[in-house]
Amino acid sequence: MGNLSINLKPNFMGLLKCLNSINWFIVFFSLINLSMCIYEDQIGKFDWRQSYVGRIKFAQFDTVSTARKIIVATEENVLAALNLKTGQVVWRHVFESTSSGNIQLLHLSDQIITVTGSNPYLVRGWDLSTGVLIWEWGLTLQKNEHTDFSEWWVQNGLLVHMVPKFGSHIEVSVYNVATGHNRGATSKLPAVWINEGCVLSPPYYTCISGSPGNQLLLSMDVTSDAVQIISKPLAEYTTARNANLNPFDTNTVIPGFLLNEKIILIRGNKFEAINIAVSEPSASVALVDSASGPLVLQTWNDEAKGFTLTAHNLVSGQRVNEIGWSDRSLSIPEPELSAVICTKTAREQHVCRILVTAADDASHLIQQEGRVLWTREEALANVVAVEFVDLPVSDLDAAIESEFDQKEGSVLAAFTRRLQSQFQQLQGAVRTLLAGDAAAADEPPPLVRDYFNLHKIMVLLTDAGKIFGMDNLSGEILWKLYEPNLNTEAAVMFTRRSARHPPHDAYLTIVGKHEETGNGLIVSLNPIRGTPVGEQTLHLDVQILQCAVLYKADAQKLHALILLDKDENVQILPESSAPLVENMYMHVADRSSAVVRGYALRHDGERVSAKNIWSVDLSGGGSQRVVWSVSKPAAERIHSAGRVLPDRSVLYKHLNPNLVLLLTEGPDPVHKDVVVATCVDGVSGGVLSAHVHRRARRPALPLHSEHFLAYLYYNDKQRRHEIATLELYEGPERWVPAGAAFSSLRGARAPHVQRHAYIVPAAPAAAALSATERSLTDKHVLLALSTGAIVELPWALLEPRRALSPAGEAREEGLVPYAPELPLPAEAVVNYNATLLRLTRIHTAPSGLESTSLVLATGLDLFYTRIAPSKTFDLLKDDFDYYLISVVLAALVLATYSTKYFAARKMLKMAWK
């Protein structure tokens, strides 16, 4: 206001001037716009969201409502409606991820009925078209045991709950579906013959019982008032030694079951063996109703013919030829018939729609003749690891690069190369001119690097063992690879060669475990095309303890993979890189014993050996266990080595590249639970700092970059989430001269550790730091909250150097005064109103633009966006007025020349006077 009053003079001109200056203020403040949000018309321009539901557990076609849907219940505890035509999610309800959200039953009548949880149970009714909850009632059983094998189904508008007690009896309760009113109370049916191998085909419960060789096939209608047991010797149906009962994958017609490879129905209280052979032991069998009577559908993956589906008429046993085909192009491993609907057309032809779920969690809706209507890659609901891979440069750019690469050669050769490449460039330019913009918009952009390197391929590794290559701009799946033996628990991905080195292909390696043996399984592929390269799929004969990528590349620009196995032997892939191993260190933290060991790797001329050089025991008397171990991102650049203080001195950062943050938690006799955060040097094993949080639990989401670290924990005393931050400083003087390499083994000096803690007024689910190419841009923290929002916070708010009331100098430095609670403003939410359910991880990657960081959030949903922590200082605004600036420029040029002409004329006239 003071500024204003000086400018303001009691006359008109003064006021005008003042208004002018206010205008400038407005312009100025709009330039340093502090909010980080996007405009409404920018929604979907730089970001996309994909919604998933998880592997389908139950599915039913909605035949009641006008808009055709498939209602699915999934392993991820999601109830959703999928559009029949496109496969997109119409509506979706996400239940608790714990056992209380486990879906036990999905039943469709005029509304959807679900049973969730495991004692207590919740029975809910949902509206078919909108998915709105209509009614709900709860049920708690007195006895908790045996409920694991309980079964639910709906029969004649009544909900039946059956709890078998093996070797004793069956408890059956019948409820009114909508009200939960227990109609006939609980009845106990004596059945000493039931065991774990029994199958239910409502309302019949069927078992094989008796001593071997004298086995009986027993079945009972558990809902009938009079107990009637159907009993037949097993030998009548099968002669196999170990007979197995299996239910049908889908059955809407007659109670029945599979006895080994035989279909047996229960009709009129009698077993009835059907004369239709099950072609393959692994085949999925379904019994469905159609206009011409019930059909038996079978599907399996034939080695020779690929995906195969057959149909037989249940009554006649005849094969229905119009349903049934095999397709080698479809890769559906271990198909399972989730839902089938068959109708008849006017021409008396069967029309079936079949929802098939495969072992790779993908669901396909297949129509007649094997036409796949849509495919949902539900494996993406469980992404384990993500790697952003640069695209190769275009052929043209590669030619230019190679032109400047070649040093040798005569002048003439260089000249011809130049001519050639320029001719190519000209050709390219002409081609793009001729093709025009319209043609370019239709076809997908080619997989080459763009000018700002914003276009990348994201390689996503999923829990199911399926690997995806995804375009980051469109979210389109470019390739997929299913690795059935890959156990992705604690799997890691390394880009061992980027696409920057033509003619060599990019090279990506996944190190995981074998599903059965637990030994190391290494998958190497070309991340651009998804084709196996190099070692391809390598199954080791030993378990892997630790793996790393060698920092030096070999002649083929390939970084070797170093594996430390359980017997502390070292394997180098490829072996030819072994002589490159030098100054290589590894550390292994044992989760349960909390012992951390460090190894020095040496190449002694023949082979590489690992020597245990340090070990620390973080168990704290045996109670603590390691929860997290985080080191710095591998290819991190550091822009500045210190911070300038107001008195012009420099506070140097402690930039130890080997620093590892280890978080342990465990019970304590005095303070209930404690969390210990220890900073260990990964090379020397020296502890740099350690702190203990009392009455704290669940340390999570550690962040580690440059000289700062942060982690979250739950404060048990205050019942809230808190974030602890720490920064390491060397002090006003450098330990090592500028430019000298840092060595962990040099000597005993401890950095100065600044610490603080802040309250997070939300429940964070994931956290990440923004990453830019040269780390010039500010570091921002991305916090994913359980509410489905991703909040972008500047590191300045988490800085431990924030003082409560900064004195003069600290204020000059620009530190924000301390406030115990972190602000989570709504305008800092990067995903605006696109709620992301059950987020688990956030991945960031640098782009070619220094200001921009690429972000992918994974969880039940995938969300991609890009953020600019220090604003887009190197990029023109999205709505930049090119037209205006060119008009202004042209007008200026015109004005300059015209004034020049007029000035010359005037001078001439003056001279004549």
């Binding site: 020597k611 340090w614 070990s615 168990s619 955060a677 094993g685 702190h691 808190e722 409560l804």
Partner: protein, 225 residues
């Protein structure tokens, strides 16, 4: 009086305990073994460090003297740029079985700095040691020779793991209270009327309106007709 002093002592020890951040006191025994001149075994005796009380942290260091053979072996390691490893076994009153820790320094650096090292033992509030680190002290002193034998120059520090800071709500609330009080006082001072405070803005606007009204009275006059 006696009671009072006793109370005082108890209070003092409690105070001390909170500063040392240790819930537990007892002895600490460290057996040091190194991998140097050990004949057939992997590790052999180098010395021991004993603390009578963890709380006071005063160590009694007892180490062997290095003879020519030791030095010879150390030089050999230094030539190969190898590590000189020390294994520490810690026994306390609660943990009589002992826990092993391993640490290494570059043999070259150890030799150059005249066999001087710094030993840091990090101890949790419950009295459990998490790590024993050996680091070479940055002292370019020559080897101390005592009749053909070389003295090890070790410094021992017991590092207590402190409690991490918690969100400082109390002092923040105090600060807010202070700010509020200051603001209230400030408002009390400036309780002039609206006109008294903002006359410098109102007067020019009024004058401007008057001038613009006075300069073209004819313009408004036809509108009235």
């Amino acid at each position: 009086m006696q009671q009072f002093t006793l109370f005082f002592v108890v209070h003092l020890t409690a105070l001390f305990a909170s500063t040392a951040c240790i819930d537990y006191d007892g002895f600490l025994n460290m057996k040091l073994e190194h991998s140097l001149n050990c004949n057939d075994e992997k590790f052999c005796h180098r010395g021991s460090i004993t603390l009578k009380s963890i709380r006071t942290g005063v160590p009694i260091i007892d180490q062997i003297l290095f003879n020519e053979k030791h030095l010879e072996a150390l030089k050999k390691l230094a030539n190969e740029d190898e590590f000189y490893s020390i294994k520490t076994t810690i026994t306390t009153g609660e943990n009589s079985k002992g826990t092993e820790y391993l640490s290494s320094v570059k043999a070259q650096a150890f030799l150059e700095n005249g066999l001087s090292d710094v030993i840091n033992a990090w101890i949790l509030p419950n009295g459990a040691v998490i790590a024993v680190n050996f680091q070479v002290a940055n002292s370019t002193q020559p080897l101390k020779q005592a009749t053909n034998e070389y003295k090890l120059n070790s410094k021992f520090y017991l590092r207590y793991i402190e409690q991490a800071p918690v969100p400082d709500t109390a002092s923040y609330i105090q600060k807010m209270e202070r700010d509020r009080e200051a603001r209230e006082k400030g408002e009390m001072k400036d309780n002039r009327s609206f006109l008294a405070k903002y006359w410098m803005y109102i007067v020019p606007v009024a004058i401007f309106v008057m001038i613009s009204g006075a300069t073209n009275p004819e313009a408004s006059a036809p509108a009235g007709r």
